[in-house]
Symmetry: C2
Subunit: 219 residues, 2 copies
Amino acid sequence: MRLVVARCSVDYVGRLSAHLPTAVRLIMVKADGCVAVHADGGAYKPLNWMVAPCAIAESDTAWVVRNPKGETLTITIEEIISDVTHDLGVDPGLRKDGVEAHLQELLAARPQEVEAGLTLVRREYPTDIGPVDLLCRDRDGVAVAVEIKRRGEIDGVEQLARYLERLDRDPRLRPVRGVLVAQQIKPQARVLAADRNIRCVEVDYDALRGLPSDELTLF
Amino acid sequence: MRLVVARCSVDYVGRLSAHLPTAVRLIMVKADGCVAVHADGGAYKPLNWMVAPCAIAESDTAWVVRNPKGETLTITIEEIISDVTHDLGVDPGLRKDGVEAHLQELLAARPQEVEAGLTLVRREYPTDIGPVDLLCRDRDGVAVAVEIKRRGEIDGVEQLARYLERLDRDPRLRPVRGVLVAQQIKPQARVLAADRNIRCVEVDYDALRGLPSDELTLF
DNA sequence: GTGTATATCTCGGGG
DNA sequence: CCCCGAGGTATACAC
């Protein structure tokens, strides 16, 4: 990884045009060739960047970074304050726990936690506009489409409503009920769900994992 | 900006839990206190991070970064390879051209480009679930809600449909037609728009600016 | 490759 | 403060 601190101006021309007036910034060039220009604030997002794959044409006065789509990032260098390179090696990568996929796994294994008597037909049940998280049958044999979110918001209700509209056209499934499941469901989402005749269920991720919440912070 | 290259492991506990095994990484600490841990690849997104506002408690063996929401980022330091600090100053910031706001400006000035005979009532016309980009009247006096996107996709159709539902409850406006305007509209979005009785219009940003496309790439 | 959904999304604006 | 919407969203995953 190469870290250059330099007084520079930057121009991006591609999906839009963007210009950065002259200032001192960090230019980060990673092993895969991608480039990011950082200011001394503003979270992790760089002011300007180019993702790999891309090629850097470097001269005394400017770096021109070009990608196969024809986008260009031009860094006009006025003064180099520091220029160091470190070999970081390959990173073993990030392990995550608690994302939506895990919630889906847990609920697929225990659909009765969504609603007593529910049995799983299929995870990621396909429709022509995308997959439904869980397709189930209730104890009366009625089809139930379950949409799982970490946080239940309006978009999730709309998404499930779209699926229900499609699923309800299938005579083997009709009529299909909808349930939105989330760790927390926002009031606006509840209102819209009521409008669309969709049930809302809040679940506790830690309880589903069979652990008291406190132990989560220990691992 | 402080740049530390170190052999470290990292644990984030907050909205989810995430763990990074030991490896050599770049730790970036910005002037506003935010922290980002970068590997030597993987675009501009750090492996792990904490956004400002947050506080860093630094000991010989570990940094614990904590934010007001109770999330923690723990960086266990095994070996510091480099540790430098640069004063970058305040950045003058990014100027963008070609984003949705500009397209909205251009179309607000020339609604006839959306549809012959259209006149503007108001930009950012408020509803209780958010503002409609343009509210217009057609040559017959019928209200027309215009949603503007750079790219027309399913979400944009749903968004406009939600607005139309609300606007149609206003007796001063009813009945309200909907038009989705974008530089490019995806086939799926067209299908859903047809379902929702929403018209689709593609416009040319460069033509609207009154410039031949080629000149765009010059400045 | 296209299409769809997720994200510790980030970021900015308005009430 | 929350809510909402845009983003050069990026990224993963299924078809």
